[in-house]
């Protein structure tokens, strides 16, 4: 009887532990695809293969929520040539004219202030999804320091030639689509998320349609 009770107790403990670590698929609202006609074929080895069909679910802890919507955005280009920095978190990721902010040439960054430290689950990026193109030097960092001088955690870096000057990255380049790019937040606790890029295969400019940061408030 005692052994049975102990076994049941252990089972309950395991179940409780598993439930605490429950993960659920990240729920994303994807914009409509904007490719008119057949996308131009781009198949290169250091690119992720083009998405065919439904993307595998990206699992995040239960209770994960969108934290970035409407949050203030700052950037290295304070006078974007097209659009406004607030477009980055305005919730409109349709990608049509008037929903994209365009930053000038050379490495540029945008930074989202979540308002309070949060445990990051995922960062989803839509640079520009009305044409198949690849952005150079995409780096995603998180920190509690708004100046990103200390406590910086790099979550993604495909800057293979260190053109942004933050060190070479080994992550793969990817083709922009309406599905966006999901970057694993790895449970990092940070208040600020900063995203870099350095032009793209079509022009020297840097674009953001939307960035969504998912996570939970840090306890």
């Amino acid at each position: 009887m005692k052994r049975t009770f102990t076994a049941l107790l252990a089972l309950f403990a395991v179940v409780a532990l598993v439930r605490a670590e429950d993960k659920v698929p990240l729920q994303l609202e994807l914009p409509k695809p904007l490719f008119a006609g057949t996308p131009r074929p781009i198949q290169i080895p250091n690119l992720e293969p083009p998405l065919v069909g439904k993307r595998p679910d990206f699992m995040v802890p239960a209770g994960t929520a969108l934290l970035s919507k409407g949050k203030p955005v700052t950037g290295s280009d304070t006078l974007p040539t097209i659009g406004e920095l607030s477009f980055v978190t305005d919730g409109d990721k349709s990608g049509i004219d008037g929903t994209i902010v365009e930053l000038g040439p050379t490495p540029q960054w945008v930074q989202i202030d979540l308002g309070a430290p949060a445990k990051l689950a995922a960062i989803v990026i839509w640079h520009f999804h009305s044409q198949a193109r690849v952005y150079h030097g995409v780096i995603v960092q998180a920190s509690d320091d708004p100046a990103f001088k200390k406590g910086v955690v790099t979550l993604f870096n495909n800057d293979d030639d260190n053109s942004c000057g933050l060190g070479k990255g080994t992550d793969k380049a990817y083709i922009e689509t309406n599905a966006g790019k999901i970057v694993d937040g790895k449970g990092t606790t940070a208040r600020y998320v900063r995203l870099y890029s350095n032009g793209n295969t079509s022009d020297e400019l840097n674009h953001y349609c939307e960035v969504e940061v998912f996570g939970q408030p840090a306890k």
């Binding site: 131009r40 074929p41 781009i42 198949q43 290169i44 080895p45 250091n46 690119l47 040539t81 097209i82 659009g83 004219d97 008037g98 994209i100 365009e102 040439p105 009305s130 044409q131 198949a132 193109r133 690849v134 293979d160 030639d161 380049a173 032009g199 793209n200 295969t201 079509s202 022009d203 020297e204 400019l205």
Partner: protein
């Protein structure tokens, strides 16, 4: 002096403004594949003294023969020495001259309208953009205007020299592009419709002189000044090839309203492109032409209508053809401006039109010169092309025993950017041996190339133009 200040200075100022817009920071935009291809052909002319007209490509000889003296003046006598500024100076100078020629052509409308026409041409977005572009179009416009001014002078004064000059410029038109007969036909149709009568009683004599001069000039250029008589036969073949290309499947087919759109309004990727002020004035000029009976305006209306109909009906369309509409539209706009009775309103209208055009030109030529949203940047090279040379130079230094391989179905403008560098080869398909110090492969051929590489390569990628990516394989060699 006072007379010059009153009459000549405004034209001089417009000419200077036109020259500035056409020459400032000429090397700013990456070379388009066509520009690069033609610049390499110019380099061969400089190095070998030889030029042979090719009926299938590259259009006429004038671009190269006019570019060569500029290269010599700048001390550039080889392909390696050539630079973007030198080759683009040819259309830039021609474009500036075209502004002054339009002013001269418009003079019968009055000094004011002539100034307005020249000013509108000076700041016209397509005219400025393609005056900074090493292609034939601006030369063709300039020779057309020179022929028209000469013909106008012959019409009014009956001096044979003007007929010869008109013919000579017509010959230069023919030696520039296969499209030239269209403009001659449109101009003649305009003359017939408005029933203009020349001072000379012998039209046949003037026409004969002009035709003779045109043939001599065309003969000289197409035969490479007597060095290649095969070029003459090729010139005749080129007309047929041009017609076939214009009416067949070329990949450049566009809807009939394509050119009209360039002169009205459109939004591309958040950027508005428009020429509404200019076009509205020109349309008003058609009304003025009908009501006033001014022959020059009526001629311009017929001329531009013929061009619009023919070029809209032909499936083959490229944005650089748009500059052929600009002179006649500027004449009509100037005619409309002259018909505004209130001086203040007229001043406001012209300032607004010039300012709107100037702003569009600023964006097209200086802010977004290679951006695919720019309607004039047609299938343009990506700024990434500027990165290839540094990669190749580094690879040659790092791995001096191996070649540089470019394996791609398309590779222009790379031969321009890699000019003068050793051990570079081009393959349309992967050869058996793909190894090199650096291998540039099109995305389409990258997998086949990779399978034939031996050793350790680092891979990266660059864009050749929007939608066309290259994989760059860099040979990793052990550090000494």
């Amino acid at each position: 002096m006072l007379l010059f200040c009153q009459r000549g200075a405004p034209f001089l100022l417009i000419g200077l403004a036109a020259f500035f817009l056409r020459t400032f920071d000429l090397a700013r935009r990456p070379m388009h594949a066509d520009e690069a291809n033609q610049a390499v052909k110019l380099g061969l002319l400089l190095e070998t003294g030889r030029y042979e007209f090719d009926a299938r490509d590259h259009h006429g000889p004038t671009l190269y023969y006019f570019a060569a003296p500029i290269a010599w003046l700048r001390g550039q006598t080889s392909l390696v020495a050539l630079d973007e500024t030198t080759v683009r100076l040819v259309p830039a100078i021609a474009g500036t001259i075209s502004v002054l020629l339009l002013g001269a052509l418009a003079f019968p409308l009055g000094r004011g309208p002539a100034l307005i026409a020249a000013a509108l041409m000076a700041v016209s977005p397509p005219a400025v953009y393609y005056s900074r572009y090493f292609v034939h179009e601006t030369l063709l416009v300039t020779f057309t205007l020179a022929a028209l001014v000469s013909a106008q002078q012959w019409w009014r004064h009956a001096r044979p020299l003007w007929a010869i000059a008109a013919g000579g410029c017509g010959g230069l038109m023919l030696a520039t592009k296969e499209l030239a007969p269209l403009f001659v036909t449109a101009a003649l149709l305009g003359v017939i419709v408005v029933r203009a009568k020349p001072v000379s009683s012998s039209i046949t004599r003037g026409a004969t002189l002009a035709l003779f001069a045109a043939l001599i000039i065309a003969f000289l250029f197409y035969s490479s000044f007597g060095a290649n008589f095969g070029g003459l036969r090729a010139a005749i073949e080129a007309l047929g090839i041009g017609v076939t290309r214009a009416t067949g499947v070329s990949g450049h087919e566009k809807p009939w309203w394509y050119y009209l759109r360039l002169f009205e309004w459109e939004r591309r990727g958040g950027i508005v492109w428009q020429q509404l002020g200019f076009t509205a004035l020109a349309v008003a000029g058609v009304g003025v032409a009908v009501l006033s009976g001014k022959k020059m305006l009526r001629w311009a209306a017929v001329y531009v209508a013929v061009l619009a109909i023919v070029m809209s009906l032909v499936p083959y369309k490229t944005p650089w053809h748009a500059i052929h509409f600009v002179p006649a539209l500027a004449l009509l706009a100037a005619g409309a401006w002259a018909a505004i009775p209130n001086g203040v309103v007229a001043a406001f209208v012209v300032l607004a039109a010039v300012a709107m055009q100037g702003f569009q030109t600023y964006r097209a030529a200086f802010v977004y010169p290679a951006d695919e949203r720019n309607p004039y940047a047609y299938v343009h090279s990506s700024p990434d092309v500027l990165k290839f040379r540094a990669l190749v130079v580094a690879a040659l230094a790092h791995t001096p025993q191996l070649p540089i391989r470019i394996i791609s179905e398309e590779y222009w403008p790379l031969p321009w950017y890699l000019r003068g560098l050793p051990r570079i080869g081009y393959w349309p398909a992967p050869p058996d041996d793909c190894d090199g110090a650096l291998v540039i492969a099109s995305a389409k051929q990258a997998e086949a190339v990779r399978s034939r590489l031996h050793g350790n390569y680092r891979e990266t990628f660059l864009g050749l133009r929007p939608g066309f990516l290259c994989v760059v394989f860099v040979k990793n060699t052990p550090s000494p």
